[in-house]
């Protein structure tokens, strides 16, 4: 039994096993000296890699390990790191670093001419080449267009009327995030409110509003918007006219003299709108004012829309009116 075991170990680890040498041939790879120390290092590194890999499986199998992700990453990362190190030691110390050279590939002028000749001669029998090319081109183009036509099924390519769609009509009640009606008394100064149309889809461009209360004396809305801001409460579309992010910053209270005016700001590119001046752009990249929604206060103090927005909501597009053009 013992002899068998020894024999097996010798067979597995034994050095100098009969290597098939190609006798009588010149070496291709230049010879080098063995390096036992480097071999040992590579051996140890491989063992460490194996240990880490096993560690990964163990950590994975365990339940309720705190910081499991970290241990998993650590064990797997280290396993790879050890193998990487082994490869590098192997490359630097255990294979011959030769400096070989070879020619950069040639070009083939003769063959180039042959190809040209071949193509030219193949077309010899054609008499009306230009006409054929034209007809072939027409066929190809038409077919190409035909093949991409089904892509139009992706969306209503030619119908852009939905950009003007909003759920706001005269009399629609404003509700807050939980669906409760927003009353004029709820709206305080120095903060902003997000409001939605009652019983409508909130995940559409035209739905969300940003509502703020300013002192009526501070307001200087355009003349045609008199009566749009009961008690100084103004409402604007919450979607920035620059790139469609939600206006989620309100600069109030202000920091005079640096930033003298209260402002609604989009955190994506800091388009800055003046709520007192009908949503006018005062800084940042937006090119179009923020659409304003006229407000009313009904008998029970609830805020309601007095109509639709002053202009199209959402990012601008080719052909949109810069001012006005109520949706």
């Amino acid at each position: 039994m013992k002899r068998w075991l020894v024999a097996a170990i010798v067979l597995l680890l034994g050095r100098g096993r009969g290597r098939a040498r190609l006798r009588g041939r010149e070496r291709i790879v230049p010879p080098g000296f063995p390096d036992r120390r480097a071999e040992n290092v590579v051996l140890v590194l491989f063992v460490c890699a194996a240990a880490c890999a096993v560690g990964f499986v163990v950590v994975y199998a365990l339940e309720d390990v705190p910081s499991q992700t970290q241990y998993l990453g650590l064990s797997l990362g280290l396993a790879f790191a050890f193998i990487a190190a082994a490869c590098m030691v192997f490359a630097k110390r255990l294979v011959v670093t030769e400096e070989a050279d070879e020619e950069y590939g040639p070009t083939h002028p003769e063959e180039q001419e042959n190809v040209e000749q071949l193509v030219r001669e193949s077309g010899d029998r054609v008499t009306r080449r230009r006409l054929l090319v034209l007809a072939g081109g027409a066929a190809g183009t038409a077919l190409g267009i035909a093949l991409v036509t089904p892509a139009a099924s992706l969306g209503p390519l030619l119908d852009v009327s939905s950009f003007y769609r909003t759920p706001w009509r005269r009399g629609v009640r404003l509700v807050d995030e939980l669906g409760r009606p927003l009353t004029a008394d709820d709206v305080e100064e120095d903060t902003f409110y997000t409001a939605y149309p009652e019983r409508a889809d909130r995940e559409q461009m035209g739905a969300p509003l940003v509502v703020v209360r300013l002192k009526p004396v501070e307001l200087h809305l355009p003349d045609d918007r008199r009566g749009w801001a009961p008690d100084g409460i103004v409402a604007y579309s919450k979607i920035c006219t620059h790139a469609g992010c939600a206006i989620a910053l309100y600069r109030k209270p202000t920091f005079p003299p640096v930033e003298p005016r209260p402002a609604l700001i989009c955190p994506c590119h800091y388009s800055t709108f003046d709520p007192a001046a009908g949503g006018k752009v005062i800084f940042g990249p937006a090119g179009r004012n923020l659409p304003q929604l006229p407000l009313l206060v009904d008998g029970s103090g609830n805020l309601r829309a007095g109509g639709n927005f002053s202009g199209p909501v959402g990012p601008s597009w080719w052909g949109v009116r810069k001012h006005g053009a109520r949706p």
Binding site: A20, V29, T69, G73, G77, L78, A79, F80, I83, A84, C87, M88, A91, V95, T97, E99, A100, D101, E102, E103, Y104, G105, A151, L154, G155, L157, D159, V160, S162, Y196, R202, E203, Q204, M205, P208, H242, A243, G244, C245, A246, A248, E259, C266, P267, C268, H269, Y270, F283, P285, A286, G287, R288, G314, P315, S316, W318, G319, V320, R321, K322
Partner: protein
């Protein structure tokens, strides 16, 4: 054994000469040549980790309520896409590791491509006969940006939604066709129809990876066909390439790089948190967060969008070119146009139509180096401007003040960089000349003595 395998292959493919040649293919050695390999191996990690993630991710915008182990999101309404991504992070064992590794690999992938591009540019490796290889590479950079953007947009967390809204705004802003294109892609005003999510998914997990993989193959075949470039050191010439042969020298080296890349990515994925989507929360149209930043490789676009002063091109009351077009579409188009045109432009300007297998040191082509540094400074400054909101939030540096400063710096610094780089290059070359003369004189003096 070896003989049997080789005989087996050769008898069935006639490939022995090819194998022999491949094994002795020569790789010139320089640290900067590894950058492309880092990108390649990051791509391997991306594909493998990505396949794992597809087994759990649910590309659907159907709204559900969360009832998982992460308490702050209890009962919140969210899309199945976002919920499945949170579940991958919290409930799939090793899911968070793979998700974070995937994300890190994407960031490293693009970073390696950009550094590789800089290396290629400043050493003149894009010149004939490798301009085609270069064009393929630049195309892959563009595809990688799009692929990364779709990847983090699919998750439908708050940051995804904000990024997509901006993408929508930029598509809308394209002159003539923007509105129609947006309708085609989204099917409805943003956030669009539910199909949009599965379309992104198809592009992210199938079309774009396939395209990138094909281009990688083409890139490598072209590299191998015309061989690597090399620096002139001793025996290197335009005609002979000098280096380490594939086997036995190069294989363990490149495996070393590969496993090192894997190691770094998995260590990052396990130990360094990235894109903690559960903190951002699910996306809703009416929500946005301050100080939000995309992945680093889109920073230049957000910077350009922010820097643009507020004007739209209009005729009368009609908008012709909305503002988002300049930063979001025109700017990257200019950058990629310059990248694509540079090899032919340089050929024409220098009337140099020759083959080039030897690389330039940056100092030896001072004008290219200077123009390149100026160009990349320009893009980099726009990139830095993209982080101005972070400086604002973290250090309360006035945002509008920063933007005005950047609007000037973006033009001034490249000009300064141009002049400075040209002078540094010239000085370096001159100092080498002086050094050479000194050596010669000393040798002469010694010979006399």
């Amino acid at each position: 054994m070896i003989r049997r395998v080789v005989r087996f292959l050769d008898e069935r493919s006639g490939g022995a000469p090819f194998i022999r040649k491949s094994l002795r293919y020569v790789f010139p050695d320089h640290w900067s040549f590894l950058l492309g390999e880092v990108a390649l191996y990051s791509f391997v990690v991306l594909v493998l980790s990505g396949i794992y993630l597809t087994l759990f991710f649910e590309p659907s915008l159907v709204q559900v309520h969360y009832h998982g182990p992460y308490v702050p999101l209890q009962g919140r309404e969210m899309s199945e896409a976002y919920k499945s991504a949170v579940d991958i992070s919290y409930q799939v064992k090793a899911g968070l590791l793979i998700r974070q590794t995937h994300h890190w690999a994407a960031d490293v992938f693009v970073a390696a491509i950009v550094l590789h591009l800089l290396r290629i540019f400043f050493t003149g490796a894009f010149r004939k006969p490798r301009d085609l290889t270069y064009y393929v590479g630049v195309t892959m950079l563009g595809l990688a940006l799009l692929e990364g953007y779709l990847g983090y947009s699919m998750v439908d967390d708050l940051l995804s939604g904000m990024g997509l809204a901006i993408g929508y705004g930029v598509v809308m802003s394209i002159p003539f066709v923007g509105a129609n294109l947006a309708q085609l892609i989204w099917g409805d005003p943003y956030p669009g129809r539910h199909e949009f999510e599965s379309r992104m998914y198809a592009f992210h997990v199938l079309l774009l990876p396939l395209l990138i993989a094909t281009l990688i193959a083409l890139h490598l075949v072209l590299v191998a066909a015309r061989h690597h470039t090399q620096f002139r050191r001793s025996r290197e010439t335009e005609r002979r390439v000098v280096g380490i042969p594939t086997f036995p020298g190069y294989v363990p080296r490149t495996f070393g790089v590969m496993f090192a890349v894997f190691a770094v990515l998995f260590l990052l994925g396990g130990l360094v948190q990235i894109n903690p989507i559960w903190e951002w929360g699910p996306y809703h149209l009416s929500q946005a967060t301050n100080g939000a930043q995309p992945d680093w490789y889109l920073g230049w676009l957000i910077g350009a969008l922010r820097l643009m002063p507020n004007f739209d091109v209009t005729i009368g009351n009609y908008t012709l070119v909305p503002n988002a077009f300049w930063g979001g579409a025109a700017f990257p188009m200019v950058v990629f146009l310059v990248l694509y045109l540079w090899p032919s432009l340089e050929r024409r300007l220098t009337s140099d139509y020759a083959f080039h297998n030897l690389l330039n040191r940056p100092r030896d082509t001072p004008w290219r180096t200077a123009i390149g540094v100026a160009f990349f400074t320009w893009v980099f400054m726009v990139f830095v401007a993209g982080a101005s909101d972070r400086l604002f939030v973290l250090f309360a540096v006035s945002y509008s003040g920063q933007i005005w400063a950047y609007r000037v710096l973006v033009w001034v610094l490249p000009a300064v960089a141009l002049v400075l780089t040209k002078r540094i290059c010239d000085e370096l070359v001159r100092s080498e000349d002086v050094e050479r003369e000194r050596r010669a004189a000393e040798a002469e003096a010694q010979a006399l003595a």
